[in-house]
């Protein structure tokens, strides 16, 4: 690197310290799009180009797994054995983490936590037209870019049970207030259980001698040696398992996240809200390990009880990201950092009324030691009995280095009942949340339609082609394309809640029972039209594949000022350079954050309104339709009115936004 390049790089790094955050937008109406081509966004030093949906696959919700229970529920996903087959297709294995099994009302399953595996061949489809099909059956059959090439195999997690003194599988049964000492720590534990034997049972039964560690598994990290982590919803623990899939340790979150009921007493039950700590059924939904294996991220699904109002779901927006250093200890006692991530909020029925829900997060993928993809979504779509349209399902880019977020680890916010808010849903003064931008809007009607997936436009009748409600699995793999070294495929899969009219599940007594997931409470419009005779109602497990470019954001370099006595303005040239390996589509803007009050940008294009900080003047550097090739630069001259001739100061911010306005 030349000295000149070094200095330019330094200037650029300084310039990028003030980078955009998606505004704390409220989505009162469906946040849909119909962009057919690439969409670009940037945050800090990262640019993400969403090249769109390139493949879909489907597994029947009625398929039994190797253990005789219904296969389903991708609560987390990880691809292994990823290979470029060299013929335009890729091969791999989906490692699928289901949650606690089918549950309905007072029925919980004795479902042992497990990893399901299925091999697949993926052939991206980038043609301009749809994948075809006229009838429902033909359209379903055309969703075959992700083809499964093996049966389902699976392995159940075990742990050393203190009662049995032997290895045991776990259970999906609710622990209520039960605890035991396992891994040297207080863990949830089910000794007995009172509930329904099957969803169709009419009265509760008490089952004794269960003696199992309960897991509601929601997040999976699978390391190359076969060991890894499970994010859990009952205790909000992060369990560590060895290569034999034996759970041998646990990371217990800060006391502020541990559920207590009453205050001062840990209580891992999920049937009701605790006094403080994680909300019930809102545990550690996202866990991801940095590619270098040193940094473990764990993200709470939504805000703690004490940071929200249990009767106003839109106040659950300020959730917490825990960052652990696992370079030398797989189960550290405390996080090295803890940040607030403010989630989007939305109106459940999308009728433009006041927001009443939080788009809780369901999965995270670490890009490195500071950057994450976060899946944030509503609960609307196929599988939900309520007649609400899909309003918000997006994948966000988060960077802990951008915007100086506040690290609250080890502060009073970590103590039992500790808060990051001043009142429910209001971030405390002095705390800066993480910066984020939307990288993928999943509610793209054009792209989904190309692959025969329909947006839920309730109360319109749903079918098996309707987009599901719960997308909870993500896995990122390289495209292995020498011409596009920064390209990746992002697989996204849904938690179908084991929802089928022909299900099999292990009841509390350990025997398999059958169920019809659509038997209770589903209005006719929410029963998915199926492919016809012989088919059952089913909310199939779906896989989507997006192609992304994740590269270095364009850099901005500023020149010096000159005062023009003809225009009575200071002028300055700024230059934006694409330092990545992928062409970037315009428009590209530069915003001037914190412009000193003595000056005004006389030739501004506009003022930022959609990306924070808002109110900053911005100028177009590359117009729509233009392309910034790798290594290429584009310049613009800024003209400042500055009547007092005082110093002009600001922080430049590059906005690579191929759609929308700054």
């Amino acid at each position: 690197m030349t000295l000149r390049a070094l200095f330019v790089g330094t200037l650029t790094a300084l310039a990028l310290t003030a980078a955009p955050r998606e505004g704390f937008a409220q989505f009162k109406t469906p946040h849909t799009t119909n962009v057919a081509g690439d969409e670009t966004t940037s945050l800090g030093t990262t640019v993400v180009v969403n090249h769109g949906l390139v493949g879909v696959g489907r597994i029947s919700a009625s398929l039994p797994d190797p253990f005789g229970e219904t296969f389903g529920s991708v609560s987390s996903l990880q691809v292994t054995n990823w290979t470029n087959l060299g013929n335009g297709s890729y091969g791999g294995t989906f490692n699928i983490l289901p949650d606690r099994g089918y549950n309905s009302g007072n029925f919980y399953a004795d479902f042992a936590a497990r990893i399901q595996q299925v091999s697949f061949v993926f052939t991206p489809y980038t043609g301009p037209t749809g994948v075809g099909g006229t009838s429902l059956a033909e359209k379903i059959a055309a969703q075959n870019q992700i083809l499964f090439t093996s049966g389902i195999s699976g392995v159940k997690f075990t742990y050393l049970d203190p009662t049995r003194g032997a290895l045991s599988v776990t259970t999906g049964l609710d622990p209520a207030g039960g605890t035991a000492t396992i891994f040297g720590k207080t863990m949830p534990y089910v000794t007995s259980y009172t509930g329904l034997q099957s969803p169709s049972s009419t009265s509760n039964t008490t089952y004794v001698g269960i003696n199992k560690l309960p897991l509601d598994s929601e997040a999976l990290v699978l390391k190359a040696d076969g060991s890894g982590y499970i994010g859990d919803e009952y205790a909000a623990n992060i369990y560590y398992f060895n290569a034999s899939k034996q759970i041998v340790g646990a990371i217990v979150p800060p006391a502020a996240i541990v559920p207590h009921a009453p205050a001062g007493t840990v209580n891992f039950g999920s049937a009701g809200a605790p006094s403080n700590g994680r909300r019930n059924n809102q545990g550690i939904e996202g866990v991801s390990l940095s590619p270098d294996g040193t940094t473990l991220f764990a993200l709470l699904q939504s805000a703690t009880i004490q940071d929200s109002d249990s009767s106003n779901d839109q106040t659950r927006l300020h959730t917490r990201l825990l960052v652990y250093d696992v370079s030398s200890n797989a189960t550290p006692a405390a996080p090295v950092a803890e940040y607030v991530l403010t989630l989007p909020t939305y109106k459940a029925n999308g009728n433009n009324g006041a927001v009443n829900k939080t788009a809780a997060q369901s999965e995270v993928v670490a890009l490195d030691n500071s950057r994450l993809l976060v899946l944030s979504r509503d609960g609307n779509g196929l599988g939900n009995a309520s007649e609400n349209p899909s309003v918000y399902k997006s994948i966000l880019l988060v960077d802990t280095r951008v915007g100086n977020p506040t690290n609250v680890a080890g502060t009073a916010a970590d103590a039992e009942g500790g808060k990051v808010t001043s009142s429910p849903g209001v971030l405390a003064a002095g705390i800066t949340a993480l910066s984020r931008v939307e990288a993928i809007n999943m509610l793209n009607g054009t792209q989904l339609g190309k692959f025969n997936i329909q947006l839920d436009t309730a109360p319109t009748q749903v079918t098996q082609l309707t987009l599901g409600e719960k997308w909870e699995g993500m896995s990122l793999v390289p495209a292995n394309d020498p011409s596009r070294p920064d390209d990746y495929f992002l697989f996204v899969a849904n938690d179908n809640d084991f929802l089928t009219s022909s299900g099999l599940m292990r009841g509390p007594d350990g025997t398999i029972v059958s169920y019809d997931g659509f038997a209770n409470g589903y209005p006719a419009s929410r029963l998915p039209v199926n492919a016809g005779a012989g088919n059952v109602n089913a909310n199939d497990t779906m896989f989507l594949a997006y192609r992304l470019t994740i590269a270095a954001a364009p850099t901005v370099t500023r020149g010096g000022f000159v005062y023009d006595r003809r225009t009575r303005q200071f002028t300055q040239q700024v230059t934006v350079t694409n330092t990545g390996a992928t062409p970037l589509a315009g428009p590209i803007y530069v915003a001037l954050d914190g412009l000193s009050a003595n000056a005004a940008l006389a030739n501004k294009t506009g003022t930022t309104a959609n990306s924070t900080p808002t109110g900053s003047p911005y100028i177009t550097v590359l117009a729509a339709g233009g392309t910034l090739a790798p290594g290429a630069s584009a310049s613009v001259v800024l003209q400042f009115d500055d009547p007092t001739l005082a110093a002009i100061t600001y922080a430049p911010r590059v906005l690579a936004l191929s759609s929308g306005t700054p």
């Binding site: 000295l3 200095f7 200037l11 300084l14 020149g559 010096g560 200071f570 002028t571 922080a651």
Partner: protein
């Protein structure tokens, strides 16, 4: 002061500046600028003014620009110099600029001749978050820049963004109609060792004084 002595003294002063700057920071760049000013002769928009700026980039790094060896191609400086911020001197001897303010500007009217030329010694200390910048422009009688193809209607513009910037990094421009033939050209000046230059200049000045003193006897 006779021209030969003035030139020698100027050389000595500038060499001194160069030497001090050399000791304190990155080696300065020296270059020569020539402008065809014939289209300005007798033009009703005159008298014109020479405008130099050295504007601050905002950080704590300082730069200086020393301008000397002014040639007017038959013209001459007029009136007093107007100084803003860290500017001093005049077109009859040496103009010095430092970036002590945000805007550091020198301008002075002149009678246009066939050309205007000067030499520049410019330090190369890189300021952040944006570089200091040196510029040269010509103003009309209303003290408006004559329009040019350069940034901010300048004829010469230099971003001091590298300790190794050279003459190729000096941006030159041409004026626009009605002065389209007014164009700046920058060229390097041979760079003898600065201390040698200082010594030569001082010896020349001393010798001249000795000659004058001897002639009085």
């Amino acid at each position: 002061m006779k021209p030969s002595f003035r030139a020698a003294l100027t050389t000595a002063i500038c060499a001194g500046v160069l030497a001090v700057s050399t000791l304190a920071s990155a080696t300065p760049i020296t270059f020569h600028v020539a402008v065809n000013t014939a289209p300005l002769v007798g033009n009703a928009s005159g008298p014109f003014a020479i405008d130099f700026q050295l504007n601050d980039g905002g950080g704590g790094v300082s730069n200086t620009a020393t301008l000397f060896n002014f040639g007017f191609g038959g013209g001459a400086p007029l009136g007093p110099a107007n100084l803003t911020g860290g500017a001093s001197g005049n077109l009859s001897s040496v103009v010095a600029l430092n970036d002590s303010g945000f805007l550091n500007e020198f301008y002075q009217t002149f009678t246009a001749g066939s050309s205007f030329s000067f030499d520049v010694i410019l330090s190369r200390n890189v300021d952040t978050p944006q570089p200091d910048a040196f510029s040269f422009a010509i103003l009309d009688k209303n003290l408006f820049n004559i329009a040019t193809t350069g940034l901010g209607d300048s004829l010469v513009f230099v971003n001091i963004d590298s300790p190794t910037l050279g003459v190729p990094n000096v941006q030159t421009a041409s004026a626009q109609a009605p002065f389209a033939n007014v164009a700046a050209v920058a060229s390097p000046i041979p760079e003898p060792g600065s201390l040698v230059l200082l010594a030569v200049g001082l010896v020349a000045a001393g010798a001249r004084r000795w000659q004058r003193r001897a002639s009085r006897v």
